[in-house]
């Protein structure tokens, strides 16, 4: 089922007219996305916890798309991606909270956070340009850990990050004087804070999707893919591999920075705990599980992996009560166990991801027996 639209997209060249049924599908999708908060909150009656989960899913879509630039397009395995998310989040937390007494507006911090994260991306990228594959993975992993450890310990002798306690009381996101912490009235409809946040996140995520889609088919995007496939050949074709790779790191990182800023504003609290290696791994799983380098696949992976553990969380207790009459195992560990099993099973049966890019599929077919 998932493969059908992918092959359709693969066959259609960029300039070919888009068939009507695709437009209908897009319209349906847009309608679904627009009505989702009502569906979740009202029709399905799932309540605010799921709306929060939904918002996080959208954040993860942004993160996964950012990492997809580095891992999926440029083929650079990055295991410390969450560090950029952390940079963005702490940027927001420090500039808009009582911690330093600064309360800068979100529209100023978010781009600055993106820029700073991009700078960190270059700082990480520059010394690692010569490394490939697993060595790059371990260096990026070390980088991610270093950032986290610094966040954890920079509370003494000068208190910058407030250490393991984290920064709390962060200003809520506000755009054009409208705070997302209070109900927002748009055209006579009152949006609750979570729903309003959802729309803002969705808009930004759509922006990220648009940018990555345009990047993919651009000169730069093709240069990334060329480097991924064969760096030496790419260099021989006149691609400035050094700058293009740095650009991949910087762009991927800046998306992470924006998502981090949104996270801080949404959560009103950041602590180093949110930026552990496990989070980097999670985002990488989203990219790989969905289908590396294929934007719809990555979105699917991000949505699935952010919803799945929550679904397990809610299912764990009732299912056990139904089966055994009482709770046998700790639901928290059960849900992670099931999640791990799901990762293994998906990779065993679909090693190229749930929704791999048509290009990749063609390659696999050709090189197969």
């Amino acid at each position: 089922m998932a493969a059908a639209p992918a092959s359709a997209a693969g066959r259609a060249p960029v300039s070919a007219p888009i068939p009507a049924r695709v437009w209908v599908a897009y319209a349906g999708l847009a309608l679904l996305l627009a009505l989702l908060p009502w569906l979740v909150g009202g029709v399905l009656g799932l309540g605010n916890a799921w709306l929060r989960t939904l918002n996080f899913a959208v954040l993860y879509v942004m993160l996964a798309l950012g990492l997809n630039i580095v891992v999926g397009f440029a083929g650079l395995l990055d295991l410390g991606y969450i560090a950029f998310y952390a940079v963005g989040a702490y940027m927001y937390a420090l500039l808009a909270s009582p911690h330093f007494g600064l309360h800068l507006p979100a529209w100023a911090i978010l781009p600055a956070g993106a820029a700073l994260a991009g700078l960190f991306g270059v700082i990480l990228g520059a010394p690692t340009l010569r490394l490939r594959g697993d060595y790059l993975a371990i260096v990026t992993l070390g980088f991610g850990e270093i950032v986290r450890i610094f966040l954890n310990n920079l509370n003494a002798p000068v208190n910058i990050t407030n250490g393991p306690q984290g920064v709390s009381g962060i200003d809520p996101l506000a755009f054009f004087g409208v705070s997302l912490a209070k109900p927002v009235v748009v055209a006579g409809i009152t949006l609750l804070p979570l729903a309003a946040t959802y729309y803002v996140f969705l808009l930004l995520a759509l922006g990220v999707v648009f940018v990555t889609l345009r990047l993919e088919n651009s000169r730069i995007g093709r240069a990334w893919v060329a480097i991924r496939e064969d760096e030496v050949a790419a260099k021989a074709c006149g691609i400035d591999t050094r700058n293009i790779k740095l650009l991949a790191f910087a762009m991927g990182a800046s998306f992470g920075g924006v998502a981090g800023g949104l996270f801080a504003g949404f959560q009103a609290f950041v602590s180093p705990e949110s930026f552990s290696l496990m989070e980097s791994v999670m985002v990488l799983c989203m990219v790989v599980l969905g289908g590396m380098g294929h934007i719809p696949g990555v979105i699917l992976g991000a949505v699935l992996l952010s919803l799945l553990p929550e679904a397990f969380r809610y299912a764990a207790v009732p299912v056990q009560k139904y089966l055994f009459g009482h709770v046998v195992v700790d639901p928290e560990s059960l849900r992670m166990l099931l999640f791990g099993l799901a990762l293994i099973l998906v990779m065993l049966y679909r090693p190229a991801g749930l929704w791999p890019s048509p290009l990749r599929k063609r390659e696999l077919k050709r090189s197969g027996p």
């Binding site: 891992v71 083929g75 395995l77 010394p127 690692t128 010569r130 490394l131 490939r132 594959g133 697993d134 060595y135 993975a137 371990i138 260096v139 992993l141 070390g142 980088f143 850990e145 270093i146 450890i149 610094f150 954890n152 310990n153 003494a156 002798p157 760096e231 290696l277 791994v281 990488l284 799983c285 790989v288 599980l289 590396m292 195992v329 700790d330 560990s333 059960l334 992670m336 166990l337 999640f339 791990g340 099993l341 799901a342 990762l343 293994i344 990779m347 065993l348 090693p351 190229a352």
Partner: protein, 307 residues
Amino acid sequence: MDIFIQQIINGLVLGSIYALVALGYTMVYGILGLINFAHGEVVMLGALTAYSTITGLLGLGVPLPLAALAGLAVAALLCMAVGYTVERIAYRPLRGAPRLAPLITAIGVSIVLQNGAMMVWGRNYHAFPNLVPERQYDVFGATITLLQVLTVLLAALTMAGLMLLVLRTKLGRAMRATAENPAIAQLMGVDVNRIVSLTFVLGSALAALAGLMVSANYSIAHYYMGFILGLKAFTAAVLGGIGNLAGAMVGGILLGLIESLGAGYIGDLTGGFFGSNYQDVFAFFVLIAVLVFRPSGLVGEKVAERA
């Protein structure tokens, strides 16, 4: 001066444990080119199994040395079984799949093992019993415990045994041939699948021993202990040159020394600005520096880049 020697001793103990775990990573990497992310969890399983066996037997009145040996044996057997199963289920079907696919299953296995262990042993820290009488020796003004001496000795003996196995036996030759080129090794009559299984089993047995050592030295066993330990050991393997057995040992010892010396002196060096809580940063900084200036590791030969 005595602090210096004390840190060297601590570093050697820590380093020999890292080295044992790093060997598991490096053997698998040398043969399959795969980062076995779940290896740290096998160490954790070894420690917790040993804990349960030893406390159980002690409760039955079994003498301590016997209980310790039984604990090691049970832990090693269980870890070997887990290592074998993991390879069969999660890695073997994916040979020849896109390179990141086995990495994801490895992460999945790691999550499963960790949470499985949490279900069995709970979230609490378990106080590991003392396996060796508490005896201390003075060395140049520093103290070394009997447990530390035994740890380093046992690790050294195990590693020597492994080197003998790999360099002197038929099995070892088959392993080296498989690492060199699996397809050609197969043509020469090596049962590659069996060698891969054996590599995992061997690495897991080392992990069990390392798990016992960590818990005995730090008196603690916990379901989450495998993660950071595995990370450090992998770092050690890369530091020495991954895929290279001697490299893993050198890298492990070196990382242990760097960590304990770094943690001991960083406060003095930076005028108290950075404390010993930056121990992990130190290790990773050294790792990055080594990789940037000598990407094939300290001992590793120049290898063609693996994409």
